[in-house]
Symmetry: C2
Subunit: 407 residues, 2 copies
């Protein structure tokens, strides 16, 4: 190859597909957090103090011992390790979604679930319905397939089906799905009411589109009674997961461990069959050994881990809400999450989250994520996402005090 070929050539060559470059901004942000002395409300990742290390050590030792040990290091079927799918079937049944193994495909975390669904459902110029704000990683996963976005407002009352259809048609495509995090959403911490879940189902029926239900945080409820999964409501209406149009994305990342990269999709069998082919073409199978270990962890530790996580994060949520109440100036408002890892703060009008971050890191050694990244349309400049998952209660108090001073 000649020396004419310059590295710079690669960039335009690979710029064929749009991608959310916000990812790299967030990346820079996360680097900041490695600086010592910073109190970070940015992460949103589980507290490693909760990880079931002892159980994981035992599980890895066990799957690597005995006659079947070789299987743990071998290729395996694309749909996923059968005993793990059987555990998930029982889990879904407890959530009000009776199904069988053929309704489940294992993915590398729910991020891969979202990427697969974007790939299967979206073509360029199609429309995906999302809330504003919504999970940044979902926008990243979907945006590789160049959709347009339109706004879902299940709590306040969605627009009419015709208005969604018409706007999508004006954009050169049609509405392909509605994506939602109904419980303790990333980034707002808010939970969708049962009435809003039903309104969303009605809208999806009218539009004849699937709902992608991202349940990443659903197990982490601190207060009140669990609300039914949208898929459970859908199954109750139509009698079977195979007749329902809800696609449920589950994960062990917030309950057992994100480092094993094990999540799943529960949906109608024809969709799952197609996703198994996508999985096969994408990476053949999720790591065999981790699926075998996750099944053991699920059986031995799921309930205990979820209970411990609820107690742990509830304390931190309480500390953060108390500190916000104590220190925040007038004009700032925030959500009251009943679970999950996030509080969403609306700053006084005119206050810019991104600029605040720069100053907060430099002058107060406090970090968070500016809210605009979670909007597909660049709104939300006066919002910020605070996570209470990593700092201890005293740090939370101190960090919010420092942050409030900057506002």
């Amino acid at each position: 190859m000649s020396n004419r070929a310059q590295a710079a050539e690669w960039e335009p060559r690979y710029a064929g597909r749009a991608e959310h470059m916000r990812a790299s901004e967030i990346r820079e942000l996360l680097k900041l957090l490695e600086e010592p002395g910073i109190i970070s409300f940015a992460g949103g990742i589980p507290d490693p103090a909760l990880f079931p290390l002892e159980a994981a050590r035992t599980a890895y030792a066990e799957v690597l011992s005995g006659a079947g040990a070789g299987a743990a290091l071998q290729y395996s079927v694309s749909e996923g390790y059968q005993p793990l799918r059987q555990w998930i079937v029982r889990h879904m049944d407890r959530l009000g979604v009776p199904c069988d193994e053929d309704n489940i495909v294992i993915t590398c975390g729910s991020q891969q679930a979202l990427e697969f669904l974007g790939r299967v459902l979206l073509s360029p110029s199609d429309t995906a319905l999302v809330t504003t704000p919504t999970y940044l990683g979902a926008l990243q996963a979907f945006s590789a397939y160049e959709p347009r976005y339109d706004e879902l407002r299940p709590e306040q009352g969605n627009r009419t089906p015709a208005s969604y259809t018409e706007r999508a048609a004006a954009g050169g495509g049609s509405v392909k799905f509605a994506y939602i995090v109904p419980d303790f959403a990333n980034p707002t911490g808010e939970t969708l009411s049962v009435a809003a879940r039903k309104r969303l189902l009605d809208l999806a029926t009218e539009l004849d589109i699937p709902i992608i239900e991202d349940s990443a945080y659903a197990a982490l409820r601190f207060d009140g009674e669990p609300l039914p999964a949208i898929q459970a409501l859908n199954v109750a209406q139509c009698g079977s997961i195979d007749r329902a149009h809800t696609i449920y994305c589950g994960t062990f990342s917030k309950t057992l461990s994100p480092g094993l990269r094990v999540g799943w999709i529960a949906g109608p069998k024809p969709l799952i069959r197609r996703l198994v082919l996508v999985k096969q073409a994408s990476d053949l199978n999720s790591a065999t050994i981790n699926q075998m270990v996750m099944r053991r962890l699920a059986e031995t530790s799921y309930e205990r881990q979820v209970t411990a996580a609820r107690v742990h994060y509830r304390r931190r949520r309480d500390a953060m809400l108390a500190a916000l109440e104590r220190y925040m100036p007038k004009g700032a408002t925030w959500t009251q999450p009943q679970g999950g890892l996030f509080v969403w703060v609306r700053l006084p009008e005119g206050c810019d989250g991104a600029k605040l971050l720069e100053r907060a890191v430099a002058e107060a050694k406090v970090a968070f994520v500016p809210g605009a990244a979670f909007f597909f349309d660049g709104r939300g400049r006066n919002t910020i996402r605070l996570s209470y998952s990593l700092p201890g209660e005293e740090q939370i108090d101190e960090g919010i005090k420092r942050l409030a001073r900057m506002i």
Copy 2:
């Protein structure tokens, strides 16, 4: 959602993107192999007897102990675990490709590498150049992005650059890359000569396209001296991996373990930066714990494992070539692999590999993969792929004897 919504609706809904449905045929085939008594030459997967179980047990126990244990179960950076990338940098240097960590991104096996490269490089109607036959999984990965294929013939002399360009233009796109497995290819077991590697580089330069070099089997050489990687030849010509247009896909699946799903891409930094964003949007990161373990296995066991695998598979290759020589009827010809896991057999004219398989399984309890699946254009009906990776030497002799009788 109303009961009108029938499961059958899902299939057309998700049929928007073309996909290699051959996958499901192969799947059916592989199920056959679970039947007891079958001698299988179909697999092409490593012999689990070679897996470094003891080293893996130790490595998992170590990464889950001590102060850093939590990190093994946590999210990690999308580009991959730094010490593993550092090992790969040293490995690439030994292959004649000096590079640094920023030239490496970790993937879930090289299958994910191929999928990512298809996603980044291909748009519908673009052309990918592949050999006939080629790796089925590559066709599956690329075909999600709806390319056309054209034929690469590096050994026999490729066509003129203009002829590739014109055919691609007639198909409504342009040539986007050349994909090749240069060493002990799946499915043929053949190795590209140095002269052919150079011809391929010349063609890629003329067409101004990258070469995707899939090195899955390169470490498994039984006879003769290693040939330089195409990327090494390319770097020798142009002075730096960042100026070279070869993208190297490496994997630990055939040397240490496929069940951990750890592979990598080595390429120019701007491409790698882009692939890191693709990785982030696709599954955030490869399983953290497996990357930490793979780094330990690479450091403690790579040389020993590769040596053991060479001895092990060489014996089986020898047994298979001897049996073919002994039993095969006139008119059948086969390759003489110097490494890897496969022998490629051309049956006498008029003999159909798929039909032979049906009979061979039913009447002789022998399985293999019919060759046509490895051609993008459905040729190769009188070819079959035999793998000697799983059956022992006596089984190989017996299986080939039975198979030869059917032909």
